[in-house]
Symmetry: C2
Subunit: 163 residues, 2 copies
Amino acid sequence: MSRLDSVIRRLKAQRSCLNFAAGELTGQQGAILELGLGNGRTYDHLGELFGRDAIYVFDRRVAAHPACIPDDQHLFLGDIHDTLPAAAERLGRSALLAHCDIGTGVEEENRKLAAYLAQALAPLLAPGGLLISDQPIALPDSEAVALPEGVPANRYFIRRVVS
Amino acid sequence: MSRLDSVIRRLKAQRSCLNFAAGELTGQQGAILELGLGNGRTYDHLGELFGRDAIYVFDRRVAAHPACIPDDQHLFLGDIHDTLPAAAERLGRSALLAHCDIGTGVEEENRKLAAYLAQALAPLLAPGGLLISDQPIALPDSEAVALPEGVPANRYFIRRVVS
């Protein structure tokens, strides 16, 4: 499989997971957390699924396409070690979905970040809320959700907050 | 259509065009020209289709994944206004395929570049050779080739050198 094949597979898997979450969460009101804005592609996709007003974005800096930049009210700029606790204070446990595409390519860093996210996202995700991530995250009081068809195992992970 | 949908569609269209070219050129020997290395994804894909030894890459600088960097013999580094004439001297009219993913987002620049490529690629592409590009390029003595199934019109362009 070439790197072109691989990126197509990854992006399609990502889209399948986001679309799956939108189906699961139909009719529910709550915040959507996008960790890592990057070039803004998944933010744009989440905007089509949930409306941009619901989405809060976390990143260290903005490097996205101009059409994919949230307004200041929906942007937590800085280190997530600071911004996630700040978001928990402001938003409370109101999030329906957190999407974390944050793999760094360095396994040790990924593990540390995943451990931090597990405890930092818990005060944000509402019961029934979903966590979609490219790394396994041991979210407390959550269960694994079967991946949508066509998403390769261990490429993405979906968990649902039980209580 | 979100920007995520759009990039998936673009990458799949690109892959379809490259795979189509490989089918058309089966069994023929010649050079493959990759204009713009970028992150090296399409170079990697072309390598699977044609073998890396056949591929010559043109770019201003190397910013690709370490696994996707050609050796010095297969890399023309610099401005294509210099490197394409140099390649024509070294390789002659031996290229089976040129792949140009070079759109800048600025229409006027794209037009200028396309006009240059039309005359700079002519001394490189062998009769029967294919040109795949994300911009229309008025290659002399060439005919339009129908796009493979699933590739949206005007997203890619394929031309075949007639004589």
